[in-house]
Amino acid sequence: MNFLRTLPGALVVPLAAWITYLFLMVPSLIVIPISFGGAGELEFPPRVWTLDLYRQFFNDPTWWGSLMESLKVAALVTVLTTVLGVPAAYALQRTNLPGRAVLNGLAMGPLLVPVIVLALGLYLQLAPIGFLNRTATVVLAHTMLAIPFMMVSVGAALRHLDPAYEQVALIMGAGRVRIFFRVVLPQLRAGIAAGALFAFLISLDEVIVAYFITGPETMTLPVKMYSALRWEVSPVIAAVSTLLTVISLVFALGLMWLERRDRNA
């Protein structure tokens, strides 16, 4: 603490922090000015400032369509992950379900297996039965990737939830279902919101699995970006990246705002 009170200490620590922040942020931020450059090529700093790249993005139905597909998939993944992940986390934490350790391992599995292995496995399994190039398939695959995050987030919230609330409700005569919906769920709001945000963002920028199992009609935005980079190196990429960053930022800030309001309520 004394170190921080001296002048060099007061300067060095924030400086080190800012250098770290910049190191992490610059690669993401540099595309923002680029995205306002001309339609000819990727350049920094841009010589002219226009909205051409954005115009190009919104006029091209393949770009525009893949953004809508991505948002649709991410929204469905968020809902499905919440519906499956929250009760699963509750069951694993608060019941004497036989084989809990195994179930927990299964749910956490996708975190441990390399994504490329998962992607290949899904492709080899789904291709012969004709399940590729379907929105539902992408949604299910992304849900699998997102569930561990939801379970970790909700699990942490549950560990901080005093079991006395559930006990007192039980003694007052409430059934398990009522306790879950009226007592437990409202107190897990912050944890569920964080897990849902993770699910949304994981799905929104997931490229490897989607690359394997999507097709022309179900192409998500990251897959479209990846193909664009490989085949055309279109500067539209910069506009798309900026848009994705903004969408993620809006959701993250929205969540932080909700949490703060919750805490002050």
Binding site: D162, Y165, V168, L170, I171, M172, A174, V183
Partner: protein
């Protein structure tokens, strides 16, 4: 006693046992609680009092034995069908609900019509004089208010048994005393059966119709507060409730005098169940002892002692004395404005009426007396 149904015990526990691995938390306990009785389970931590409470509430399953609630076997009845109320030490009010919603919750569970919920919540808030906080969240209330709300949430659905697990443990002394009176008043007004767990012997003495003192998973002794305080059967009971002076010695067969290192001590008249001869311990409460001046009265001269310290505790004075061999004795006398306290280091004499002593069996847990 007009009909059999009315006179039945509200709770009857038979041979109740709970074992965790190699630890026996509750060991073959029998207990009956009468309808409307206020019973306190008292004991140090690990004595089994909370285990017994959790077994009655159904949150812990019995390893052996049976539990009857209101004449019906409830050993395996799910918690939410036992018709109990419970008040926790940390209140356990739902933080996301207002005071109204918290108290309405058990009524909603019972599918009470909306209009009736409204009246009953306000009735019970009036009873505890907290009508003005009805729309607040628990976080906006003081600890004492929260505990009263959790009491209200319990009595609003009129359970016939209310369990309380150290409900006043988190409150400061003054508030605790107010709440003790409030709980006593509610108990009297509602005629509900109460089972109250505490490790605070003063609280147990102040509130209970009957104290069940627990030790190592068993019932050590049970009875009215004055029974346990004045007529303990064991050293543990004597030591746990209030303070006591204990003199270890040997009782020759047929004698009414205990041979101790401090000399022969007079004993009260023989009673049933006390040690008849051999090793024994004489217990004397500090308030039964008096400091006496030389040459007062006749009979037993009392014990020589040196006054180490005296402290005034408001209405009474506590004297800490050392006997000739260094044994510490505590004497408690009423205080008074004109009463003169002996000087520190003064040689005094301590005496008590033989009838105020109580002869108890030895106990391996009380080796050094």
């Amino acid at each position: 006693m007009t009909n059999i149904e009315e006179s039945q015990d509200m709770i009857r526990v038979n041979g109740l046992t709970r074992i965790y691995g190699t630890f026996t938390a509750l060991d073959n306990v029998d207990l009956a609680v009468r309808r409307g009785e206020f019973v306190t389970l008292l004991g140090p931590s690990g004595s089994g009092k909370s285990t017994l409470l959790n077994l009655i509430s159904g949150m812990v399953q019995a390893t052996a034995g049976t539990i009857e609630i209101d004449g019906r076997d409830a050993t395996n009845l799910p918690t939410n069908r036992r018709g109990l109320g419970m008040v926790f030490q940390n209140y356990a009010l739902m933080p996301h609900m207002t005071v109204f919603e918290n108290i309405a919750f058990p009524l909603q569970v019972r599918r009470v019509p909306r209009a009736e919920i409204e009246t009953r919540v306000h009735e019970v808030l009036k009873l505890i004089q907290l009508e003005h906080v009805v729309q607040r969240k628990p976080k906006q209330l003081s600890g004492g208010q929260q505990q009263r709300i959790s009491l209200a949430r319990c009595i609003v659905y009129r359970p016939s048994i209310i369990l309380m697990d150290e409900p006043l443990g988190a409150l400061d002394k003054k508030l605790r005393e107010d709440m003790q009176l409030e709980i006593k008043r509610l108990h009297a007004e509602l005629g509900v059966t109460m089972i109250y767990v505490t490790h605070d012997q003063e609280e147990a003495l102040a509130m209970s119709d009957r104290i069940v003192l627990m030790r190592k998973g068993r019932i050590e002794q049970q009875g009215a507060p004055e029974d346990l305080y004045f007529r303990p059967d064991t050293l543990f009971t004597a030591d746990f409730l209030g303070s006591s002076n204990l003199f270890a010695g040997r009782l020759p067969a047929g004698s009414r005098q205990l041979d101790t290192p401090h000399g022969g001590l007079p004993l009260p008249a023989a009673r049933e169940g006390e040690p008849e001869a051999g090793e024994a311990v004489l217990m004397v409460r500090p308030e039964s002892m008096r400091l006496v001046s030389e040459g007062e009265e006749g009979g037993w001269p009392g014990l020589e002692a040196t006054l180490r310290d005296s402290i005034v505790l408001g209405s009474y004075v506590r004297h800490f004395l050392d006997l000739a061999d260094g044994k510490r004795v505590i004497v408690q006398e009423p205080s008074g404005a004109t009463r003169r306290r002996p000087e520190r280091g003064a040689q005094v004499r301590v005496r008590w009426a033989a009838e105020d002593g109580r002869l108890l069996p030895t106990d391996p847990d009380f080796k050094e007396l």
